[in-house]
Symmetry: C2
Subunit: 710 residues, 2 copies
């Protein structure tokens, strides 16, 4: 495997699978990081050799200790460094000299403290680069690999987690300790557990690529505080998901700080960094979670159980109330509770008491013992109408909590349909929950979490079936023209393009603009009118006139060439009478905008994710309801559809509620042209097409107004 | 106390505070309800005398057993009955003869099984009524009173809960067992714990009135599956909250089944039973919760800590990530994270390491021991800028989990500001959490739950300060006229009122209708026009003409009396020319509707809560976003404001985003008139005023169209 992969991935493999480790800076003071780190490696029973390194110690934890790493006579795969940041550069330099390619730098005192710390971090990056070292950290909790072939705990965590199939990558070390404690209590195991700290070298993106091919990892969890390169992250996650089917779940903190700053465009004010992150995650297929509980609720569904084949679920409960609450939650999550087949209800009728409910949700009644759960669970799992089962238990005095947990575990192994459980309560149900957790049956404190997790797995499965394809770029665009307009404006120090120039950019990208012309005589006005077709608007063009309407400088709804001729003269007369000194450039002739639905298309450049495309219905929809959606350009064939359908208002376009169906094909084309423009012309910082008027189905659309910020 | 309260409340007092109990139907078979119920009473060490009653036993649990309850020689306060439903009537009859006034009927087999069960339930209700007995149940888990003066566990729960200040009322017995188990593990105590089962006699409403005056109960929790009398519930809860300041929290299951059926009016389709319940709860001040965890998260905040004086919170954490997530959640919940005072940051600067964050959120850094938490918590609690503190802990290897928990508990007792905690993880943090829970410091698994609970207590406090006042009814309404129109229509079997009739109803209630008149000559048209004022619309009135516009039967924007005269003649000419055989009633003259914002007002009668008033902005707002709000009539002075401001679109009315400020005073008047009509005329089943046009501020509003269903 190690031959045809990039060096960084090879080095990461050395970090996770070392045959020998040097611990630089270890000491004998227990309860401190330098004291605990070696102890943890030993406690985990690492399947290789450990070399403590410390010029001031002869032995640490009874192991012979080397003054310097270069003194070690054997080859070393991994350096774990806990020296203070002030001497880190020397330690790393020696690692390089020793030929070590993988390192974990635990110590803090780098970028996160500012000032000199920033310099120190740059310094170690340089050294690492010089020697081709890849390192995790600095300022991190460390790295864990539960693979029995290695048993690596190069961290100062309290305890090593159980073995499992979850790969966990966290930017917060302190959160790691909470996660490990939380997971251990629930018997949730990990394959790899990485605290990436300042991610000065190895980032979450590198680790995604590494875990993609890690056979021990089936699900990847990310906790991120800032995303340095959003596009890389999206690409990596998309690759993992689409190539391997491994789900990627992520918490990204900082949700409410979005869009706070004032912005020049609608898109600018609406496309905050958090909305952009949301869009990018969706596009990549990353499942965004709000908190640790939600993340693990979903993660155990993914790791412990097969993906559901459909969204039809059955509920089995010994308590009516929670059954109703779970039914509610299932429907809210878009799941279905179908009728059971007659064969199934027949069995239930025979085996359950009269007072039981033999329909979905199945109520085995409060005094149910293991036998009733047994028959209900088995027969419902056999039912072809059902894709998954939610089991609820409340602890009545006769409830056989542990037997029921054992039975569920046994039955689960006989079927390939997902089974989730919720034993409600806490103290008395604890032994039952423990049995379920040890047997890898997803268990949830709240029964309502079951449909939420199930829906996540179902949607993920559906998404895997989608095959997003890049969209063929339009050939009828004039990239040079657009670039030259933009570059010239930038050369002149402009912060935004005047309306005419903005229109020229859209013209170069063949957006549907309302045709127009400038007439300087009545005859010319007629000529242009005949070319454009009616109805028309005429408008005085003069830099000296602001309120064109008030001066009689605008005439609407011109329908014939006679009217066009008259209108020209009338406008000139009006203006000459009311503002005789105005310098007149001519009269602007433009087709009237046919009635249609107004939408807004926008573009904003995000520092991390690049060009963001926004869509929404105009006016009130954007202003009051913020009913807009976002995707990162370039859009693929699926993103363009989702961009539209994600907004509530989009049903207006498709003709819902007695409205006229609009030309959605034309809308899509505009969106894709904007996506192409966004990629081709990075000079555009923000852009609003507001409104874009969508005509009746088959009749196209028109750009009515454009704003471009540079 | 027992002298000036109604009999039912006196009887409930006997149920909770009996000096003697008869257990009818008890036996010696352990593991069954009749076997366990007496055992539970004995195990709880009831501070009175228990008399087992069973004709087939001489002694149960070593206690002399009576054949019949009437055989007991001493007075009996409470009968707990576990006989089968088939003989329940006889048992209860004997209780009546014995003079027992309070009973708990545990047995199932009544209304919930249908058929004969319904009759049996009616039968016991009659007997109870005859003897003036109040009873809880049937089909319930029983009743618990933790008061050390009684120690009553008349239930078949597994274990008695700890003593505390929460009164819990549940319609689901099975859920009770889960709640007891959940609460015991968290050291959450209860004052009274009641499973109301079929609530054939004593209902949640009676218990609310009882708990209102129960000195042991500070917070009341309800779990309801169906609400028989919503209005009574609202009234009871409102009384409890406003008179005593005790918060009432409720789960009501069945959220998604709402509004499913097709309805004739907008209001009918939007005001589902769940939306109505939501509105009623808000109006009463009941805090609606989605699940048990949310309910107890909030309940412990209310019981353990004082109500916050404001919404300014500080976060103290040893982990940056969770600090950010909690900051996000705080802002989402409407809380503020103000700057700390210079005195506070000065102390923090002196006592915390350099790398610590001494601003809000305060980061004491991963390696913090108890001393750092100590100084941070104390100094921040002293800060006048801060109304409450959230403390987060993640378990690093050096974290002194238990000491920190002890310190927090100690410090909390010195301050009257709320302190909430979240020790993240599960296994290692468990001993710390246990210390917090025993010391009544609210603890939350997820740090994000802290702001949610805090915001609930803050809002509740704010609501207590509101003094909702009933609104003085309008005197200028003609209730007799409205009723006679409605009664006549009903007498004629009509299902809805024709437009003119509906308008007459609104006229009787003095809604702002567009004035109009019927003219049968040009002179009369002029006369009416002069009375109404201009501009006007004229419209042909004829049952034979459907498309009035097409025949030239409508003329808009009539501005003078000359125009009015001409318009009359023109319409008659047009119609006579194009449809000579049409029978003409005359010409309808109406004021033009001035431009304004369209809103919709509605009324629907809910079977449980009575008349529901709906408000929303018209058109798209209602159709796509369902941006409407509800309140139960009659509305008080505060409800009418909230009805409006609760919708997002209401900011349009107040002139946001450059819009014209509308006459909200007039809108409020219309809403209050509708509220009065709703109460006065129960014949109206549904009503839509759609649209009501709200003019510029100070210019009033107009009803443009009305629909009334009977």
């Amino acid at each position: 495997m190690l031959n045809d992969v990039p060096d960084k991935i090879k080095n990461i493999e050395r970090i996770f699978y070392p045959q020998s480790i040097a611990v630089l800076g270890a000491n004998n003071v227990k309860g401190t990081v330098p004291g605990d780190i070696l102890t943890n490696i030993l406690k985990a029973q690492f399947k290789g050799i450990v070399y403590p390194v410390n010029p001031r110690e002869r032995h640490i934890s009874s192991i012979k200790t080397y003054k310097y790493v270069i003194d070690i006579e054997d080859p070393v795969d991994l350096a774990v460094i806990v020296y203070p940041s002030s001497v880190m550069h020397m330690a790393l330099e020696q690692c390089g000299q020793k030929g070590i390619k993988g390192a974990v730098i635990i110590s803090a005192g780098f970028k996160e403290v500012g000032g000199q710390g920033i310099e120190r971090e740059e310094q170690i990056k340089e050294i690492a680069h010089k020697f081709g070292i890849s390192f995790i950290g600095p300022n991190c909790l460390g790295v864990i690999n539960t693979d029995p072939a290695v048993m690596l705990d190069a961290s100062f965590a309290r305890k090593m987690p159980e073995e499992g199939n979850i790969g966990f990558i966290s930017q917060s070390g302190a959160l790691c300790t909470a996660v490990l404690d939380y997971a251990r209590a629930k018997h949730i195991g990990f394959s790899k557990f990485v605290s990436i700290g300042n991610k000065a070298d190895v980032s979450e993106v590198d680790l995604l690529y590494y875990l993609k091919d890690d056979p021990k990892t089936k699900v990847i969890l990310l906790y991120l505080e800032e995303i340095s390169d959003g596009l890389d992250l999206v690409k990596a996650a998309k690759t993992v998901i689409e190539k391997t089917g491994k789900p990627v779940l992520a918490i990204k903190s900082g949700r409410t700080h979005a869009g706070a700053s004032a912005a020049a465009s609608h898109t600018g004010s609406l496309a905050g960094s958090d909305e952009t992150c949301d869009a990018a995650f969706k596009q990549a297929g990353i499942i965004r979670c709000d908190d640790i509980e939600e993340m693990f609720n979903k993660a155990i569904a993914f790791t412990y159980q097969p993906l559901p084949k459909g969204k039809r679920v059955a509920i089995i409960t010994n308590a009516g109330g929670p059954g109703v609450l779970t039914t509610d939650a299932s429907i809210r999550c878009g799941l279905e509770l179908p009728k059971l087949k007659p064969e199934t209800t027949e069995i239930l009728k025979k085996s359950l008491p009269k007072t039981a409910n033999i329909n979905n949700p199945v109520d085995v009644i409060g005094d149910a013992r293991a036998d009733r759960y047994n028959v209900a669970v088995s027969s419902v799992l056999k039912d072809d109408n059902i894709d998954g089962v939610f089991i609820i238990l409340t602890p009545q005095s006769m409830t056989e909590i542990e037997s029921i947990a054992h039975e569920i575990s046994r039955i689960s192994s006989l079927f390939t349909k997902p089974i989730y459980t919720s034993f409600m309560g806490e103290a008395d149900v604890a032994p039952g929950i423990d049995i379920l957790q040890r047997n890898k049956i997803p268990h949830y404190i709240l029964p309502e979490s079951m449909p939420e997790a199930f829906a996540a797995t179902y949607k993920f499965g559906k998404r895997l079936e989608e095959k997003p394809e890049p969209v063929e770029p339009f050939k009828d665009v004039d990239i040079e023209k657009a670039n030259s307009i933009l570059n010239e404006a930038i050369a002149h120090g402009k912060k935004y393009l005047p309306e005419e120039e903005a229109a020229k950019i859209l013209e170069a990208y063949n957006f549907p603009l309302l045709k127009s012309g400038l007439a300087t005589s009545p005859d010319e006005a007629v000529k242009i009118s005949e070319e454009l077709g009616y109805p028309l608007v005429m408008k005085i063009m003069s830099d000296d006139i602001v309120h064109k309407f008030d001066l009689g400088g605008v005439i609407l709804d011109i329908k014939t060439k006679v009217e066009a001729f008259d209108a020209y003269n009338r406008i000139i007369d009006n203006v000459k009478k009311l503002k005789p000194d105005a310098r007149i450039k001519g009269i602007y002739v433009r087709k009237m905008i046919p009635p249609g639905e107004e939408v807004i298309l926008g573009l904003k450049r995000d520092p991390s994710f690049g060009p963001v495309i926004m869509f929404g219905l105009g006016g009130i929809f954007v202003e009051i309801y913020k009913d807009v959606s976002f995707r990162i350009a370039p859009l693929d064939n699926i993103s363009v559809n989702k961009l539209i359908t994600e907004t509530k208002a989009s049903e207006i376009l498709s003709g819902a509620r007695g409205r006229i169906p609009r030309d959605i094909k034309s809308l899509k084309e505009c969106i894709l042209r904007l996506s192409q423009l966004a990629v081709d012309c990075p000079q555009i910082k923000e852009l609003d097409i507001n409104p874009l008027i969508i005509l009746e189905d088959g009749k196209g659309s028109f750009v009515a107004d454009t704003k471009i910020m540079l």
